[in-house]
Symmetry: C2
Subunit: 427 residues, 2 copies
Amino acid sequence: MRTADLLLLGASQVVTVDGGRAGPKRGPRAMNQIGVIEDGAVAIHHGKIAAVGTTNEITAAFRGSRRIYCRGRTVLPGFVDAHTHPVFAKMRVDEFAMRCRGADYEAILAAGGGIHASAAATREAPVDDLARGVRARLDAFLRHGTTLVEGKSGYGLTFESEIKSLVALRRGAARHPVEVVRTFLGAHVVPAEFKADRAAYVQLLIDEMIPEVARRGLAEFCDVFVERGAFTVPEGEAILRAGKRHGLKAKVHADQFRDGGGALLAARVHATSVEHVDATRRKGIQALERARVVPVLLPSASLFTGLKHMPNGRRLIDAGLPVALATDYNPGTSPTENLGLVATLGCSLLGMTPEEVIVAITRNAAAAVGREAEHGRIAEGRRANLVILDAPSYTWLPYRMGTNLVHTVLVRGRAVVKNGRLVKAHP
Amino acid sequence: MRTADLLLLGASQVVTVDGGRAGPKRGPRAMNQIGVIEDGAVAIHHGKIAAVGTTNEITAAFRGSRRIYCRGRTVLPGFVDAHTHPVFAKMRVDEFAMRCRGADYEAILAAGGGIHASAAATREAPVDDLARGVRARLDAFLRHGTTLVEGKSGYGLTFESEIKSLVALRRGAARHPVEVVRTFLGAHVVPAEFKADRAAYVQLLIDEMIPEVARRGLAEFCDVFVERGAFTVPEGEAILRAGKRHGLKAKVHADQFRDGGGALLAARVHATSVEHVDATRRKGIQALERARVVPVLLPSASLFTGLKHMPNGRRLIDAGLPVALATDYNPGTSPTENLGLVATLGCSLLGMTPEEVIVAITRNAAAAVGREAEHGRIAEGRRANLVILDAPSYTWLPYRMGTNLVHTVLVRGRAVVKNGRLVKAHP
């Protein structure tokens, strides 16, 4: 290893998130073992982590290397946002204002709002416009410390516009520092034109969309919204099993408003993750634990819509589940890219500790999107995606509510955010 | 007026917050008349607003002037944070972590935490250290669009350290773009050493601290925390009346946890504002309305401490009260300078409209701190303190939860924040 190519990054604190045993079956206390190294350092070589330890250990092992010491700062793994909806043509700020002025969601839907408004605009939009929107949102994720994002389609709801959405997601992320894991969510809702014949839409998903998505390699996951008003458990199961036959791993939006058996379905099809689970009861939680499904909790959506529903993070962790937290970034119910704020909500609203929320936006989130081999931890051989907080300890991330503490972001060892700003426009 | 000294600032939208009638008795609908000018412009001359209108009107009236047009952006009055505690020696991040890990507040107090920890550290700190802390926090307020802040003492709780705190507040704000209104809050809690003789502390406040604060011109307001565990209504009344005798206007922290008569006290002493009012019942609300007291609501503190208590913004507005929103910035229960996030919480949690939250962080907040003549509106003759949002409408401020949309801040017509960054270190 030529020392000329080495970068030693030291800081007041390095948090490896590499403390406990791997995998979902780590028990309720594992999420509090996050590997804190006071006065720590990371050695970076050709975009990968060569070593991590105390500054004394690392500087002794790698003499003569380029060194940066960040006094009073904290190094963490790049954040992972395991659940976002970033492909759409228009923010829904007017609908938000209507809702604040007293309109209920039914009235908004009747006025052509809600998800149907997103679908109408997304169907109209050229793919390059959608890709540009994705790219601008990835910039915002990056400024908030996120270097890996799961992104879903689901605002098209026709064969053409779902394919277009996934192409836009791929195109928007091309050569961007943020890596995107693509999920096909054609089963977001039944589109208005299929209201009278929902079975036909399910068949369209199974017979045409999923095969095309898989054939063109446009997604890695297939997701279904299992909820009253969206898809039933049998419909969801048929869609997810079709996805599996075509090599798409499963995710399930489940039990957001009531326990409708969505978590049980997620366990039955061995989904990688299950989303929301605000209302999941004991049987569902036990099934998730046995099937090693990662629950992805979305408290900013709960907050934005007035806290009518809220996941019980404490209970899920105490049941042994490897909880992840995500923004649920979308134009209707969670228009934020700020995982730091979500970390605050994990502590303030979900009964989680600062250690648990850090694991939930790094290691567990990487597991939720099938990227635990590269992302979410600072350990030898892993990709050098790192966040440097302008704070002396990781506890400040949830503590400094609504304040973006991200000072620097490295992706594959290269600074892409410095002093809170994007280093340059990406190609 | 020499046109060479004129700056014309145009934007997609200018919100004057100058729509309704002045004063607290404006009725429940007044807060929705915020004076929106699409394709608007502001003429600025020698640090003051010379005119505001449509871009066509303003450019016709002021020919040949220096012009800036902010396409896709929104101009608002500089935000006003009507309730903060910015003078203290140390953030209480460790206590936050303890609380998240399950310690209750009693245990934290017993371990020397809580407000007593702040008092111990603040008493030890040199005045210049406290002033530096204030200055750093004012920088953070400014980056989030706030150009006027009310700041309280109250972490000293001895004669010397309360005086020191107010001096630090004055010194920290000297020549800083953010204007600070100082409030004496020696009556924050009864300090530990007076536990056995609380009457002696009340006498110390009345006989020594208040006269000295007034004599040296260190504060404009006197505030009392009226709550179980802090001060009783009779104690609070004696302190506030002593303040009034020395020329200090009154504020009251009231009814945060239960209706203990604090709002009635605020009305009785004709306080300028009343803070928290989470639990105030109908009689208290009516009294506030009759006495024209401005309620200052603090939802970020409610959120950060787990939403056990929450003000009912909708009910207070519907009762005709000119509601203000503030951050309650402090190291224990609300470590955020982000009024935009507070605006989101006003919509999501307090039942307020986007228009009402804008008025609540500008015009009504200025009234809560006695600065309505200069701050909180865009109108001819007022100070040119302006915020330019990187968004095409004011509705985006509450909508884009946890995202700092502030692009530019002008103070007395001079840019002090550009592209989200402080223009320079202040002297």
